[in-house]
């Protein structure tokens, strides 16, 4: 998994509660990404980061925020979780000189 860990790996929460997912990498990669995976949609980009405190929105960013205060950590926050945010969330990194992305093991989130 290219030195990527995600936590938690599984989470069940209730509608309206805040949720934060963490992506941690050990190899100082500059670029980090958050995707969600849903049946029939493949993987869709939520937010990405190109350095500490440098982030931008992806295709499906509504309802999500991110933060990157350290190179190794990229946090995804659902301010007020909704059932439509039930999904599997993947973090990815890419090398500074490559378009290739490497994915973490994923976090399965269920919003009741």
């Amino acid at each position: 998994d290219a030195g990527i860990t995600q936590s938690p790996r599984h989470k069940v929460t209730e509608t309206g509660t805040p949720v934060t997912l963490r992506c941690h990498q050990t190899e100082n990669h500059r670029y980090m990404y958050w995707y969600r995976q849903d049946p029939g949609h493949g993987l869709r980009l939520i937010h990405y980061s190109y350095g500490v405190k440098d982030t931008d929105k992806g295709e499906v960013s509504d309802g999500y925020s991110v933060s990157r205060s350290k190179t190794e950590d990229f946090l995804l926050t659902l301010e007020s979780a909704t059932s439509s945010q039930t999904s599997v969330y993947f973090c990815a990194i890419s090398l500074w000189d490559s378009q290739t992305q490497y994915f973490g093991p994923g976090t399965r989130l269920l919003v009741l």
């Binding site: 990404y33 493949g42 993947f90 973490g104």
Partner: protein, 112 residues
Amino acid sequence: QQQVKQSPQSLIVQKGGISIINCAYENTAFDYFPWYQQFPGKGPALLIAIRPDVSEKKEGRFTISFNKSAKQFSLHIMDSQPGDSATYFCAASIASARQLTFGSGTQLTVLP
């Protein structure tokens, strides 16, 4: 607007047969086309990738065929094995944007 269309949604092949998965894209600015393999409960893993300056790339039993004029590319798995049973995603990106756009995925089952 889905920019990468993948077919078929599911595919069943006999052991030893050839598996073929097709993708079509719309954005002619795409310049990198990877394929990812995903096993249940795992993150997607890069399988093989191609750039539009070549029409074919082969790595072991896996081959990408690329048709720039038709804006299509496909994955061929020769001598398919039960261990190849997984979900396969095509993707595309633009170097300057460093964002991957994924197809919707193909669930491949190789029967023993």
